[in-house]
Amino acid sequence: MNKKIFSITIAMLMIASLLLTACGGKPSGPVTVTIWHNWGPDDAKYTAFKSILDDFRAANPDINLVDEVYVDSDIPLKVETAVTANQEPELVFTGGIGNAFTWVDSGVAVAVNDYLTEWGLADKFLDSAISQYSTADGTIIAFPIEGFSWPIWYNTKVLESVGLGIPKTTDELIAAAQALRAAGKDGPVVASGADGMGGKLFELILQSAMTDAEAKASLGGGDWTIPNAIKGVETFVALRDAGVFVDGVEGIDYGGAEARFGTGEVAMCHYGAWAFADDAMKPVAADVQLGGFPIPAGSPHQLPVYFKAFSAKGIFITPNGQAKIDAVEKFIKFIFQPEMIARLVESAGMNPSIKDVPVDESKLNPLFAQTLTMEAEVVFISDTYMPGAVTTDFGRITQEAFAPGTTAEKILADLAAAYAAIK
């Protein structure tokens, strides 16, 4: 055969085989749904979450469920970058905070309003949970899944060692600081002044002097001329200068604060539900009574205050998830079954975002059980209303606020400047 004809025949056969392959219809096999989350082995929810995923896999062999664990704070940027390359996972578990509220507009996630109705889930969720994942125009950005309480932990043994009970007002707290220091102990409150967790305590103290509306106007809108916002900052400075915080609080990080409280050295700390099952806290857990932060005189609140919210984790559906919506629907319906959510509540003290969760109270973490009956008032955490662009400045300002010598005037001026800069 002529070489030329032979070559042309082979080439045509190759092209034909490629074309036939392309026309061969959908590839068979399971649909892959990838989830990015941070409920890895270090998280209290890991075991329960893993059991839910395993049960889903067993019940849905047609879906290849892949879960990838990342550091929580890394997830938003990873997702945003992945979407630009069309390489994003189908589902993302992350907080309903900061930039996540722009995700529907920017195409990183899709609104779930219609899915809530179509999948028969609308009546299942708590209104308070849904509202924290809703934008001003009513767009629901994700299915809320993880709620939390963020109370003050009181080590009653330490307080009783100087004949004190749990302080309800800032005056009582200052008296407790004086008594503890007179007894040769450190200040009563350990906080991670060096990171964002300390910033949340700073915010809680500010809110102890403010109504929710005032908190939204100052922490959300940047109005730092509101008298109660000024009072909140002054309260913080007065507490710091009275020795309420442990020495060197401005240099302590999350782990350091947990270690100080967990070894029974100090009387108070500010940790959320995620720490209820932490090993570091176990040595003192039996002596812990949960409550709110003491309120200053003239506070608009009647009781000590604490945070309770659902901003910890929502399930976002990405454009890739929308393309596999049938598989995603199966997963969402599966995980939001009351008995599945009950596993997360029982094992990790997670506040459920849905109604009628059949919890076995005997299985509840004792600290979580305390949050259900503690006498304290909920204030609205700023996660959902503080502008994302100001959060890093807010963190730096609060770091500095914990350092001795930083005046209330400087803190207020810095806060005003930080909010003005983003307008």
Binding site: G251, I252, G256, I397, Q399
Partner: protein, 313 residues
């Protein structure tokens, strides 16, 4: 037909010298093009294109990777004049550069000179000095976090010396945070740069030192009167490298202080990171990139001029 008749007569083609030269030059141009093409493509795709993009994005308001851009021309640059943090970042960066360069280059040169004398044990010392360069930034940050913690090694050491009054929260005290970070750079920079100096000094002819010693010069004199003047150009290069690593660096601020407390460790490099990755103001962050780029060019030219003038004397 005979065999000889089948042979095709070979045509002897002759070229004039001029034509030969032209052909040769063309051949050289073609082979030169193929030699540089990969590097040129690499440069255009991965150096020039991103650089041009930086200039392009700096003229945009762009508040997130997936959000639309809006052309605002020079507004991001005009904003510099109204942004108090730019002045703070420039001040902190200036302090960092000044202390970081002055603290590193002379000591690194002296150590490099000492190594170049090849005294017993210099190989071990050279390896020890180079060790910081082999550690990852994150590992170094962890080491220094342990050192600077309120209950860390530094405060413990001061306690042992009976100097507990000097205890500090080193990374969260406004007056010590920046210098604590600079100290990390100095610690790592001296060792690394001393090895660079050692390599350069090793190329100097030994006869120079021997002649000077015969004339009665000591090591100190040899170092400053002979080695130093001969190394001026190289010192300029090392200074530029140190300058560039500090100017655009932000790793220790990201890992250890977050730019705080307050704005104590807020440098230009950190501000760029903050705006790009934390505050999602991509256009403004790239405008900062342009600012850093031009500061870099100006200072590099300045350093080159100073060193070339000094090397003439």
């Amino acid at each position: 037909m005979t065999t000889s008749e089948k042979l095709i007569p070979l045509k002897e083609k002759t070229f004039s010298n001029e034509e030969y030269g032209r052909r040769n030059a063309r051949r050289r141009r073609v082979s030169f093009f193929f030699l540089v093409a990969p590097a040129l493509v690499w440069f255009l795709a991965f150096m020039l294109w991103p650089l041009l993009n930086m200039f392009y994005i700096s003229t945009m308001r762009w508040d997130g990777l997936n959000l639309p851009k809006k052309f605002i021309f020079l507004d991001n640059f005009i904003k510099f004049f109204h942004d108090p943090k730019i002045a703070i970042a420039l001040h902190n960066t200036g302090t960092y550069l000044l202390v970081g360069i002055i603290g590193v280059i002379p000591l690194a040169f002296m150590l490099g000179f000492f190594l170049s004398l090849r005294k017993p044990g210099y190989r071990v010392l050279r390896t020890i000095f180079f060790t910081p360069a082999m550690l990852s930034v994150a590992a170094l940050a962890m080491i220094f976090l342990g050192l600077y913690r309120p209950d860390g090694m530094l405060n413990s050491f001061l306690n042992v010396l009976g100097l507990s009054s000097l205890n500090q929260v080193w990374l969260m005290n406004k007056s010590t945070a920046l210098f604590s970070l600079i100290a990390i750079d100095i610690w790592g920079g001296i060792g690394f740069n001393s090895v660079l100096f050692f390599a350069a000094l090793a190329s100097l002819p030994e006869e120079l030192y021997e002649a000077a010693m015969l004339d009665g010069a000591g090591y100190w004199t040899i170092m400053w009167k002979i080695a130093f003047p001969l190394m001026i150009d190289f010192i300029g290069v090392v200074t530029i490298l140190q300058f560039l690593s500090i100017l655009s660096g932000a790793a220790y601020m990201i890992l250890l202080t977050g730019g705080g407390p307050g704005t104590a460790t807020f440098t230009l490099g950190y501000y760029l990171y903050d705006q790009a990755f934390l505050s999602h103001r991509l256009g403004y962050s790239q405008a900062m990139g342009v600012l850093i780029f031009f500061i870099g060019i100006v200072v590099i030219v300045l350093i080159r001029r100073i060193t070339s003038r000094l090397s003439r004397y």
